[in-house]
């Protein structure tokens, strides 16, 4: 294998990392907003599954990719609305309600997605690029969307008035309330936004990055996103590169099956490949360990009111 070939391979793997990291990026962004507003939503996995299923179904019926993505967002948002109602209005435990979202999403997507299992997938618009050669234009576009989105999200959170309101609601809701910010409405808004982003992540997966619908399509990606939010210290820019890193880890077992790779190819050793599938999950635990050290050192922390329902006039945050 020559140096040039290795370079091409490296670029291919990196592009693959960007592709498979993008759904994760969307979900992570959404959860960062939701948690910054003080509501933890552990239902990402369920919302992504529903988004993936409904997005695929909408595309299948209409043939319109954009409509598919929008449908995924809408149904992800709908599920998040349920979570918002239960946790914000009914003040229920966010952990348990989030789990319920995941159960419900898993079940619903499984039941309603049955006609779509193994169906034809959206045909990619192939572009011919140097080095990468054949690339689906849709993948390129969605990567760019993700790349633009993360800095925008950072700017919104840290440099705008609504972003400040959002953070204040998550850090010190009673103070925010006293300044005339509608705590409950703000929280509703960003929980729903988070759901829409998770739905978008799911639909991106089933339509663009890994086309097709099967039961349990996301295979724990939603849960990884929950972990990434913590490691990203609720910062969209950190979320960006961590998502891509996990995209890389998810692709790696596939890439290493390439027999052209010297030394590290798993082509002749399928059981090693099986162990490699553990990597993203192991890495999630590992980065949480790393992150906890850093959090202690830099005193980074979760939004102060994360997980605490806001009740006007009651003691608490």
């Amino acid at each position: 294998m020559t140096g040039n070939e290795l370079f091409v391979l490296a670029v291919t793997i990196l592009f693959g990392a960007l592709v498979s990291g993008t759904p994760l990026l969307f979900a992570t962004m959404g959860e960062i907003f939701s948690e910054r507003a003080g509501v933890m939503n552990l239902g990402i996995e369920g919302m992504m599954l529903v988004g993936a299923m409904s997005g695929f179904a909408a595309w299948f019926k209409t043939g319109n990719l954009l409509l598919g993505l929008l449908a995924g967002m809408a149904f992800g948002a709908l599920l998040a609305l349920l979570h918002a109602f239960i946790t914000i209005s009914l003040r229920a435990d966010q952990v348990v309600s989030g789990l319920a979202v995941t159960f419900l999403g898993t079940g619903l997507s499984s039941i309603l997605g049955q006609p779509y299992v193994g169906q034809r997938t959206p045909p990619p618009t192939t572009l011919v690029l140097p080095i990468l050669e054949h690339v689906a234009a849709e993948q390129l576009i969605i990567i760019v969307v993700g790349l633009i989105l993360a800095p925008l999200a950072w700017y919104y959170l840290n440099r705008t008035r609504p972003g400040l309101n959002l953070r204040s609601v998550g850090e010190y809701p009673s103070a925010a309330d006293s300044l005339g910010i509608n705590v409950l409405r703000t929280r509703y808004l960003y929980v729903i936004f988070g759901g829409a982003m998770s739905g978008l992540g799911g639909a991106t997966m089933s339509l663009i990055t890994d086309p097709g619908w099967v039961d349990g399509k996301t295979s724990g990606l939603g849960w990884i996103a929950v972990g990434l939010v913590i490691f990203a210290s609720w910062d969209p820019l950190r979320g960006l590169w961590v998502s891509y890193f996990f995209g890389l880890l998810r692709r790696l077992p596939l890439d290493l099956q390439n027999p052209a790779l010297p030394l590290i190819s798993t082509a002749n050793n399928p059981s090693l490949g099986r162990l490699m599938d553990m990597l993203p999950y192991l890495a999630t635990i590992f980065i949480l360990i790393l992150g906890s050290r850093e959090a202690l050192r830099k005193r980074l922390g979760a939004p102060a009111a994360l997980g605490v329902p806001y009740v006007r006039g009651e003691r608490g945050l």
């Binding site: 789990l99 995941t102 419900l104 039941i111 309603l112």
Partner: protein, 396 residues
């Protein structure tokens, strides 16, 4: 009646009546069935009520079946043709035993507000370790009680270690246990796949360890069928007693022992616990360990019932445990009853299309149960705006 002159007020509740738990659990099940009916309709099932009847029949049998069974039992004859007798009940008990144990695993952890969502992975590791002992460590000629005890011990130990890891990470580094236990679930699935599907434990292309030696399997009721013919074909095994004994022990620990008191104090108010000199770190690791051990025992229980470990070892019992724990209001004894109901749900939905209906029903149940939590802490009053006379109407 002028509705506009009334308003809904939510006020703090000082008492804590016990009926709310029962009502909300029942409400949860009823609402889940209603919502589930609509979803089934949307999915193309024309007769949701018929589907539910089918689930109930598959899961528990019909009164006619039970009657036929009892008649046959008394007359010491075979189960009459066309009747299921105790078959569904037996299948349900078989499924209820592992999920009762995973539910107990969740209960003990949730009592301390430790969100162990990893009972599934801990169960997988328990099943893996028990299989290792049964197939690769002890000779097949080992006595059945010794073999089963060794398997149970291996399952408990594996689960304990696998649960203690996230406990340790939580206690020492304050790492969110929800994420770690979940990630460990996926790692356990892959671990099992590695050994059983492609790796060292699979026999040929069967993705299985092959049948266990007889000593490594639970005795089944059907083994008595040469003396009591009606028991023929019943796979129910003593594993259910493991769960029941564990539930009683756990109830004793929680409500009668000093340790259980500490667990409940930490769960209700960690600050108060700290001031009272209760060690948070130690208890986090201990409780996660115990929780994992119970789930690991569930894994052993399941492989000894399946009598082989294969690539189709069922996922999701750990998550069902979460639902049962909540529906039982974190009461170990109530969990026995709820686990039985859910065993029926699992058995009943096994053959029914579309799949995923069990998961959806569980999600809705959990929503309602957690949504009505509000009623524990607040009283919902509808009152007229001018007058203060209030009608205590509850609404969810």
């Amino acid at each position: 009646m002028n509705l506009l002159s009334r308003r809904i007020r939510i006020e703090a509740r000082l008492d804590n009546p016990g009926w709310i738990g029962v009502v909300s659990s029942i409400l949860g099940i009823v609402l889940a069935l209603i919502v589930g009916g609509f979803v089934l309709r949307a999915a193309g099932a024309n007769d949701p009520i018929g589907t539910y009847q089918e689930i109930f029949k598959e899961g528990f049998g019909t009164p006619a079946d039970w009657q036929a069974g009892i008649t046959a039992l008394l007359a010491n004859t075979d189960c009459p043709k066309g009747s299921l007798c105790f078959g569904p009940l037996s299948d349900t008990l078989v499924k209820a035993s592992p999920i009762l144990l995973t539910a107990l695993a969740c209960i003990i952890a949730f009592r301390m507000k430790l969100w162990n969502i990893g009972a599934d992975g801990q169960m997988f590791m328990g099943a893996w370790a028990a299989t290792g002992v049964a197939v690769f460590l002890l000779p097949p000629t080992t006595d059945r009680p010794v073999m089963l005890a060794a398997m149970a011990l291996a399952g408990i130990l594996a689960g304990l270690l696998y649960g203690a890891i996230p406990g340790f990470l939580k206690a020492r580094l304050n790492i969110n246990e929800i994420i770690t236990t979940l990630m460990l679930n996926y790692i356990a699935y892959k671990w099992m796949e590695y050994f059983v599907v492609v790796g060292p434990w699979s026999i040929g292309d069967f993705e299985s360890t092959g049948k266990f030696p007889a000593a490594a399997s639970w005795p089944r009721l059907t083994e008595l069928s040469d003396r009591i013919p009606v028991l023929s074909g019943l796979t129910v095994h003593p594993g259910i007693f493991l769960g029941i004994v564990a539930a009683i022990l756990l109830a004793w620990i929680l409500y009668r022992s000093r340790w259980g008191y500490e667990i409940r104090v930490i769960g209700n108010n960690p600050k108060a616990a700290r001031y009272a000199g209760i060690s948070l770190r130690r208890n986090i690791i201990l409780v996660m360990g115990l929780s994992g051990a119970l789930a690991g025992l569930a894994g052993m229980n399941e492989v000894a019932a399946l009598r082989e470990l294969n690539g189709r070892f069922q996922r999701g019992f750990g998550f069902t445990g979460v639902i049962i724990a909540w529906l039982a209001r974190l009461n170990p004894l109530a969990a026995i009853l709820v686990a039985f109901l859910f065993g029926g749900l699992i058995v009943g939905t096994q053959l029914i299309q579309p799949q995923g209906i069990a998961s959806m029903l569980q999600g809705v149940i959990l929503f309602v149960v957690v949504g009505t939590e509000l009623l524990f802490h607040y009283r919902v009053r509808v009152e007229k705006i001018e007058q203060v006379t209030a009608a205590p109407e509850a609404s969810p």
